[in-house]
């Protein structure tokens, strides 16, 4: 592997890892605060990608479509939490698994009814089209750098909100002791609605950011869901810091393995996850 290839792969890996973090952060946030295992989280990623594709073909502006899709996703999150998830707080994990599998079916079917089963692509916005010259004869796409920067800034905002604001304080308090937060007069129900909606929006925003880089196809949600599980489990369920480290590790490992040993590349992250759990059965940053 040449130095040049190594650096390209390194940037690719980090960029993929950051995108994974963005998706996984919503999953781990919802699990950590509410104890809900949302198998339909990948579907929200799909929703984001399809919405931005639809609005982009209608309006022609990527920025406008991105904002519209994110707002719609937030509303969808509130709706799902109010109508369905709220009924599950006193049930076990298995009922949650069952309900969210049902949701995957519904979203996949809505996708095929509304948008059909053809693969789509979203054009990279014109201001971000092109590449940064890397060496004399190679360059790196600007949009990918931009996407990575967006992911980093969202991670920063998330960190700030959770650790420095009043909402973050409530989220952390809700994680450690639900009853006590309730007894102190906080409306835990609306807190949960907010957290779930933020989780949905994080997944959808990842789908929006990924849309110009990847093709928009049926089933895109499920494949990303399983990878996110790996990320979240390696980091430790419920830990946002863990999700960040786990996402970068998974991003780098899967990028490098697809170059170094292509025949094993699909298996390798699962092998890595099993090894991590053998050493630390609760993940790297367990609470």
């Amino acid at each position: 592997m040449t130095t040049e290839l190594f650096f390209v792969q390194l940037i690719n890996g980090i960029q993929y890892g950051l995108l994974l973090f963005l998706i996984a952060s919503g999953l781990t946030l919802v699990f950590g605060v509410m104890g809900i295992l949302n198998l339909a989280h990948g579907s929200m990623y799909m929703v984001g990608a399809y919405l931005v594709w639809y609005f982009a073909t209608v309006t022609g502006s990527f920025t406008l479509s991105a904002i519209l899709s994110a707002i719609l996703a937030l509303a969808l999150g509130i709706l799902i939490e109010r109508v369905l998830i709220q009924r599950l707080y006193n049930r076990n994990h298995l009922d949650q698994v069952l309900l969210t599998i049902g949701m995957i079916f519904v979203f996949n079917s809505l996708q095929s009814i509304l948008f059909g089963n053809d693969p789509y692509g979203v054009a990279v916005p014109s201001t971000l089209d092109g590449g940064i010259p890397f060496t004399e004869n190679s360059s790196y796409p600007i949009y990918r750098i931009f996407a990575a920067l967006i992911c980093v800034s969202i991670a920063g905002v998330l960190y700030y909100v959770v650790s420095r604001t009043r909402l973050g304080m409530l989220i952390r308090a809700g994680e450690s002791n639900r009853e006590m937060v309730e007894a102190l007069g906080v409306n835990i129900k609306s807190l949960y609605t907010i957290v779930f909606a933020i989780g949905v929006m994080l997944a959808a925003v990842s789908g929006i950011i990924a849309a110009p880089m990847r093709s928009i196809v049926p089933g895109m949600g499920e494949s990303v869901l399983i990878t996110c599980f790996v990320v979240v489990v390696i980091g430790g369920m419920g830990s946002i810091k863990g999700a960040f480290v786990g996402a970068l590790l998974v991003g780098l490992i899967s990028t490098f393995s697809s170059v170094l040993m292509p025949s094993m590349s699909n298996m390798i992250i699962y092998i890595f996850m099993i090894l991590v759990l053998l050493v630390k059965p609760q993940g790297l940053f367990a609470k």
Binding site: G102, I104, L110, Y270, L277, L278, Q282
Partner: protein, 318 residues
């Protein structure tokens, strides 16, 4: 009596009586015989999962690993153009699956709760991609089984696996044995301790039982029967491909067992038949059957808290 509940004593004989005579009425239409055979095979698979999830408390999302192994092991072991003996190969496949379950079980049972769900998922995904990317096992397309096994015992053969009706009765017989086997196991001393490990692991351990060994034994039993179901399915359709061990397979089986009534064992039959029946119905009514299937699942979670068996028990037990 191994069937403790009134509901079971009514439903189980009813089901097997109907199932026993069903092919006689469907003789002209072997599509339905094949369809029901598939559902019976799935019921065995779901029942083995129900035992693990509902009775032992091991929530696995990687049970399909063994379903796939049952099929792939046959392809790996049996010569391609020679009919082998069904009973001997059942023994081989179950033996090797049990060994694999013993090894993987020793690894996955180190974790608990949500991590157990995830590590079982990871192991089955790993094997999924192993077969998916493999050249010798046909990758994505899988492998065809050209010769079905013969079923002679001491030279006497009374079952012909190429005959859909014979195959139907073989699977029905297997389902009955699986049901009785689980009921006997759960009523035994071993089963009582397993029940205790689920209800209160700490106290059971304090009584001097090594709960790890009991869980491992159950994991091996459940996984082996899951592999047997996969073997039957591969024989029915004459092929095996990676979708056998996809996570969707594990997920669907979990949905079926929860739908039927988790931990009731006989509920696995109810859940599988209801799920497959609904799917068949929706598929024929509309192109967008997934939408109805998904909505039906969501509705049932909200309305039926303890599955179909739980609902029936509420009606019939007094």
């Amino acid at each position: 009596m191994i069937f403790e509940k009134r509901t079971e004593r009514i439903l189980v004989p009813m089901f097997f009586m109907v199932a026993l005579f069903l092919p006689l009425f469907l003789e002209s239409n072997s599509f339905f015989v094949g369809k029901v055979t598939t559902i019976i095979i799935l019921s065995i698979f779901v029942m083995s999962l129900d035992f693990l999830v509902g009775r032992v408390g091991l929530i696995t999302l990687g049970h399909a690993l063994f379903y796939g192994l049952g099929g792939y092991l046959f392809v790996i072991l049996a010569p391609e153009y020679e009919a082998v003996n069904f009973w001997i190969y059942t023994f081989y496949i179950c033996g090797i699956s049990a060994l694999i379950a013993l090894i993987t079980g020793a690894v996955v049972l180190r974790t608990t709760g949500i991590y157990f769900i995830m590590i079982t998922l990871a192991i089955s995904q790993m094997m999924f991609y192993y077969f998916f990317d493999s050249l010798e096992f046909g990758g994505d397309d899988g492998v065809f089984i050209f010769m079905k096994p013969e079923t002679s015992i001491f030279g006497l053969s009374f079952l012909n696996l190429d005959d859909p009706q014979h195959f139907y009765y073989l699977t029905l017989f297997s389902l009955f044995n699986t049901l009785v086997f689980f009921k006997v196991v759960l009523r035994s001393r071993f089963g009582r301790i397993v029940e205790a490990t689920k209800q209160n692991p700490d106290r059971t351990e304090a009584l001097g039982y090594n709960i790890f060994i009991f869980r491992l034994a159950c994991y091996v039993i459940g996984s082996t029967l899951g592999a047997y179901a996969g073997f039957l399915f591969a024989l029915q359709y004459g092929f095996v491909n990676p979708s056998f061990l996809a996570w969707e397979m594990s997920g669907t089986a979990l949905v079926m067992s929860i739908l039927g009534g988790l931990g009731t064992i006989y509920g696995a039959i109810l859940g599988t038949f209801t799920y497959e029946g609904l799917q068949y119905l929706f598929e024929h009514l509309t192109e967008e059957w997934l939408l109805f299937m998904g909505s039906a699942i969501i509705l049932m979670v909200i309305v039926l808290r303890k599955g179909i068996a739980g609902y029936l028990e509420k009606l019939l037990e007094k």
